[in-house]
Symmetry: C2
Subunit: 188 residues, 2 copies
């Protein structure tokens, strides 16, 4: 079986490599609109499935399409990718000194079956000074990252005190769970 | 201030780079003997301090020596680096399907002060088949790793379901805590 990973994220690409499975990458645009009153896990799974529905090719019999959506949830609201430096600063100011949740919705689809699921991890960040947050935004330009930070870069190194849950889920792919779900696909 | 990181671990080298501080590396041998009846955090701090005591150079006035020791603790015993493939297999068999603790002891030392502390993270691994464990030992040769695994390689990807605590502590350096402790050194 070969995985088709639909993503523009270099982090997801890095992670899928480490699974030791055959894969190819694909990328295409979708509208990421959702109903903001929904629960975060429902939003993450809805967007993952929407990405699978938008896949513009046919899936071959030996292929499994993998689509994912990661979002940050804090104070009953979704933090998506920031539009500019001000929004990135405000998002980081909001998450510093608190625990937030990271949800990744996953859709796995072959020609014979589909599985949609999610993982949730708690991430606890310490308080940073405005200068530290500004330094991060200016130097790392985290505009392609939900919640404006990367757990695998300087912010993750210095500000994240604690995780409760799957680390790779926070990076964008809950690999341990995906590995198990893919075993079921291989059997079918 | 410049950090002197005493380590042979490529993972610790990778992590210290990301802190954005000036550093240099050093490596030398020490005897890693310890009293096995001690508590794990005491052992980790004892070995970190022992590495600092063995530093064969003088520390310059603008330098801070950083030494670290990471150990895996399960069933009231320390898992260190495995001697061979059989021991690596047995260690992984022991940790799979359970939660273990990873302790890193840290010693920071300048010419004017010293701080010794530790961090502890819980790591939950799923059950793997003997074939999966054997594949890991043969392909990844985890002989330089406490507990016989790397959280940042295939084992960490597929077998680690959950972490409770600092992820980078499991990789060998609790960066978020070290960043805060270094601020105190800079003030003094």
């Amino acid at each position: 079986m070969r995985i088709i990973l639909a993503t523009k994220s270099p982090r997801r690409h890095e992670l899928i490599k480490g699974l030791e499975m055959e894969y190819r990458l694909t990328a295409y645009e979708i509208e990421e609109h959702f109903e903001p009153t929904l629960n975060p896990e429902v939003i993450a799974m809805f967007l993952a499935k929407k990405k699978a529905d938008a896949f513009p090719e046919a899936i071959a019999n030996d292929e499994i399409l993998l689509t994912a959506d990661t979002l940050v949830w804090i104070n009953n609201q979704v933090l998506n990718k920031p539009a500019d430096e001000e929004e990135a600063f405000n998002m980081l100011k909001l998450i510093c000194g608190k625990t937030h949740k990271v949800f990744t919705g996953i859709c796995l689809r072959s020609n014979s079956m589909e599985k949609v699921f999610y993982e949730c991890s708690d991430v606890t960040c310490k308080k940073l000074s405005d200068e530290e947050i500004m330094h991060y935004v200016n130097s790392y330009q985290p505009f392609d990252k939900a919640g404006s930070y990367g757990i695998q870069d300087w912010f993750g190194y210095i500000a994240v005190e604690k995780i409760n849950g799957c680390f790779y889920n926070v990076m964008g792919l809950p690999l341990s769970r995906i590995y198990d779900e893919l075993k079921v696909f291989k059997k079918n």
